[in-house]
Amino acid sequence: RLEEVPLEVLRQRESKWLDMLNNWDKWMAKKHKKIRLRCQKGIPPSLRGRAWQYLSGSKVKLEQNMGKFDELDLLTGDPKWLDVIERDLHRQFPFHEMFVSRGGHGQQDLFRVLKAYTLYRPEEGYCQAQAPIAAVLLMHMPAEQAFWCLVQICEKYLPGYYSEKLEAIQLDGQILFSLLHKVSPVAYKHLSKQKIDPILYMTEWFMCAFSRTLPWSSVLRVWDMFFCEGVKIIFRVGLVLLKHTLGSSDKLKSCQGQYETMERLRALSPKIMQEAFLVQEVIELPVTERQIEREHLIQLKKWRETHGELQCKSPPRLHGAKAISEAEPAPRKALEPVPSIIVSPGPAPVPKARKSKEKSREKGPASPANGPGAEGNGAPGTTRELLHPQVSPHHQSKESLSSRESEDTYL
């Protein structure tokens, strides 16, 4: 059931969003909290696609890489990936009018976007879970824009989720489970007792950012918040769903066995997925980026003890729009005086060194300076090797941001 926003309110929101989009850098630098609040209230449908591009930084990315998508679009692609992608084209939102007809525009664009990604990141190729993500994007923007938005999701928001070994998603499964211990001890105990590994229920949730799990209106609200606040939102949605499905002895009565429990998690109650309820619960759930990062380090250590080094090294993830815009400022911004809000109390020379690398790698595709780790198309070869989130400049600035943010409640 769709939550009806009164037309008057909707028009007001639209004009507020238009003002924000037209002065985006200023809003991002000075009134980020207000942006966040407005994302939590829901982005007006008419501006959603544009807003997602601004929030994710894909708009900047596209401007920095003019013509890149067209270039990739003209290439044939590796038959190994094309075969798999083609098999998936008719299996994404098969009842959505955009994707319903074989070879129709929706499916064609989906093919172009996914193929372009395999050419952009040949070492990652194509993962089936990318298709629903790309499909949701295509419902809101043209193929080129959707491509860069997908790039931002795969590299900034959920790095490593779709790469060969699927290690990042398994790690996040462990992080989710550990966070559940605090959020709902009852649910945690039940899942432990039933020996239900997190990857049995959270793989599709997280890899598809709930796009195949929640009712459509809830998907959009969750994505609005996700683009603004990052993976924290995905964790919170997962925790809210677990808590309200398995969080009391009363609820557990009907799922005594392992299979019954998994059935219950697969067929979630519509009540807890309903837009207004879910969004409110997600906003109120006290799970912070800091907690997630701390748990990440703990689980990474455990992973190394049991599995050895990670095989796919991903860049550190960025927690939302603010962190992304700080890590990748628009080129012209470098000339402006740096706003004080970005200044990080962490090791000062690091962000600077990174900035210069950022610049050099935008210059040309085959820059030999990038070294063997670079893929030749603007991959941050240096950040890819950074495994410890705490040594990353992004996280330094992020930590300082969150503490600063709690102060500026006047916004």
Binding site: P94, K165, T203
Partner: protein, 212 residues
């Protein structure tokens, strides 16, 4: 009405095989008796439950685990396979590459999962989409029998989820072998196959030989 002396079995069955061979369609046909060309690609794992009235005294409940076919999800199969009692490995008769992947799936399965008695789980091979009229692989049943014997499949079936061909039969075959392997955990259920390494008395006599 259930009889009071009815026995109930619960088996976890895996359905594995390459991407797009029709694993989900087979399960939907078997459990919900319908077919749609509009199933979504499976991400991770999916589940379904089928209840079989096996005979007058026995009810068999089958948990069917529908496992994503893309290779990279193979990094999670150890968790999916845990405590399974049997498996279907599916390929698409119209795509030879999916048949070539069958041995790879079998090896993955056997390397990560054995029954409590140390034997591999009973596995049935499904040659799906047989309604498509492209019978490249199937025109030689003897070859398929040979393939199954060599690769440790308990049987094979040409199936069609679309036309509902042989799915019930394949399932009955698998369940039959699971029940047999449960009730007779030591002896091989195929008397014509000799497995000397499973015969413990022989090992004893051998080592005795060696000693003397």
């Amino acid at each position: 009405m259930q009889k009071h002396n009815q026995k109930e079995h619960l088996y976890k069955l895996l359905v594995i095989g390459d991407l797009g061979v029709g694993k989900t369609s087979i399960i939907k046909r078997y459990v919900h008796q319908n077919f749609s060309p509009h199933y979504r690609a499976t991400i991770g794992v999916d589940f379904a439950l089928k209840v079989l009235n096996w005979d007058a005294e026995t009810v068999v409940r089958l948990q069917l685990w529908d496992i994503a076919g893309q290779e990279r999800f193979g990094n999670m199969t150890r968790v999916y396979y845990r405590e399974a009692m049997g498996a279907f490995i599916v390929f698409d008769v119209t795509r030879p590459a999916t048949f070539e992947a069958v041995t790879k799936w079998k090896e993955d399965l056997d390397s990560k999962l054995v029954l409590p008695n140390g034997k591999p789980v009973p596995t049935v091979l499904l040659a799906n989409k047989c309604d498509q009229g492209i019978d490249v692989l199937m025109n030689n049943g003897i070859k398929m029998d040979q393939f199954c014997k060599e690769n440790g499949f308990v049987g094979w079936f040409e199936t069609s989820a679309k036309e509902n061909i042989n799915i019930n039969e394949a399932s009955r075959c698998l369940v039959k072998h699971i029940i047999a392997s449960e009730s007779d955990p030591v002896q091989s259920i195929e008397p014509d196959i000799i497995k000397p390494h499973l015969n413990s008395s022989k090992i004893v006599s051998c080592s005795a030989c060696f000693k003397s």
